[in-house]
Symmetry: C2
Subunit: 215 residues, 2 copies
Amino acid sequence: MITVALPKGALLKDSVACFAKAGLDFSAVLEPGNRQLMVPSHCGRAKALLVRNGDVPVYVAYGQAQLGVVGFDVLREHQMPVAQLLDLGFGGCHMSVAVKSTSGYKSAADLPPHCRVASKFTNCARKFFDDLDIPIELVHLTGSVELGPITGMAEAIVDLVATGRTLQENGLIAIEDLFHSTARLVGHPLSLRLDRGEIKEIVDDICIKNDLHGF
Amino acid sequence: MITVALPKGALLKDSVACFAKAGLDFSAVLEPGNRQLMVPSHCGRAKALLVRNGDVPVYVAYGQAQLGVVGFDVLREHQMPVAQLLDLGFGGCHMSVAVKSTSGYKSAADLPPHCRVASKFTNCARKFFDDLDIPIELVHLTGSVELGPITGMAEAIVDLVATGRTLQENGLIAIEDLFHSTARLVGHPLSLRLDRGEIKEIVDDICIKNDLHGF
């Protein structure tokens, strides 16, 4: 039986819709009272593992799920050995550098060397500033990163920006994008190699029915 | 003005009650519709920063908050340079090793060498198994760690256990405790040293009015 790791949170609804078009109905995970973490599809052909966005590539890399849906930001941050199969298109957002709108900084290159940058995505932030040759002090936070500049702890943040409303509400402004992120369909490499058509059929169906193009 | 970092989630209500007894009323953070992350106390003498449990020691270590409330588990896992001032007593739970109740393992020493252990607290888990001289493969998860053994990805988990209900619902059982955890009052070391009585008064008040003993 195929197991699909689905991400809790913002990407869940679109992920379910995406698999529904390919004939796998996981809509039970969307029911308000649902506490189950393993949910069979309506047809019984597959089951969904309901996990955190950041844990999807872990379950797929270890082969506990043959397929998974996860934001590209997570794939860039954690670099797990999973195969990227499709860009699903939804969940679009930017990984951006943001600063206080009153700071006067117009681009990342304006930031003073050795300034503090707060982020949940410290690997992405480290690589970006290393490539720019700007030494920074990274402060790892797990939530509400916008408090970094507000409290004066950090000069800038690196975070996901979708609508920009959270930044605006907190007096921050994005000054540079690291990359654009969307939801991706990923697969367990070994399962894909040993697949006797079952996984390929699902991936092809998702691709065709959602009018997508493979990598 | 004194800034206090308060942890969102399970410890918040008791943290607010604890400071209320010392004359600092942060009850505005408990209001259902509250979206503010910086909330002044009722008296205006102090303000609260509402952050994730895991971020409390970061704000306190960098001096953005002079005081903070955080679970001992977080202090053990992240080892930030903050001063532990008081054991607040609430939020009691154990950091435990748990396995499938059908597995037959009675203690951590029964686990096979090189087995997989899933945890959010990989530093605590690593230290515990290193001390036992049992080589393990750690799998870092960010949530719903109980899925590790259920899916067969991990033989055991290391996680916080309060009532044990989540374990039981998932067919797991705790077989060994790493340590007991409660909420702690922590302080920024430099602020404590430069304090002209303002912080000490709050700490003493919390200690006396909550009938606690300092370290």
